[in-house]
Symmetry: C2
Subunit: 118 residues, 2 copies
């Protein structure tokens, strides 16, 4: 991560440790930085939440978005999906330990964000 740029005697430049592939920051952002992803994780912090309850809590995000994000999060093992009953079909989503490990970052982000609004 310690990128730096060197200039040789002829003025030519070389980069040391360029982030040729996405570096850690960028990778992290791609895990929790997608649109609505952070919000979804944060709203799951107190326990399992049902799909439509999530869509209600995140007014502004469409079902499609939420569905897409939930699938992404599930494929990364950050949340698990549970079908509770089959007749009046009910599904809940819950954070895994890995998903939970991102919460403190989101909470700092929230605190920082709130302190900027004044």
């Amino acid at each position: 991560m310690e990128s730096s740029v060197e200039t040789d005697s002829k003025g030519r430049k070389k980069v040391l440790n360029a982030c040729m592939e996405p570096c850690a920051i960028e990778k992290g952002m791609r895990l929790i930085g997608g649109k609505w992803t952070g919000s979804i994780i944060y709203h799951l912090k107190d326990g399992p939440v049902r799909f439509n309850d999530l869509t209600r809590m995140l007014g502004g995000a469409s079902k499609k978005m939420i569905d897409q994000r939930l699938k992404e999060l599930e494929s990364r093992a950050m949340i698990t999906r549970h079908v509770i009953s089959t007749r009046p079909i009910a599904v809940t989503y819950e954070l895994t330990d890995f998903g939970r490990s991102a919460l403190h970052i989101l909470d700092e982000l929230r605190v920082w964000s709130e302190s900027n609004e004044v």
Copy 2:
């Protein structure tokens, strides 16, 4: 932020404290979560960096992207743009105190991200 869902006697649902507009998490993400935004801020942490040096450090991001992100960051007063000399034109970008205040979040993100790679 404490959204919850209530069900009345007839099974109808109401949401309490829905995030009708982007909530704090989402707002924060829009400040530092844009593609490459976090990386740019992070690469400025050690002092002013020139435009082309940034593009070299962030291999993978196009000049246009970086240019766009720098302008966004400048308009939010997270970075400042300085023209150093006019003849061989040179420009540097530097974090403001506000921009700097986001660094600790990014650093936690980096640590978290690195610990996930195994």
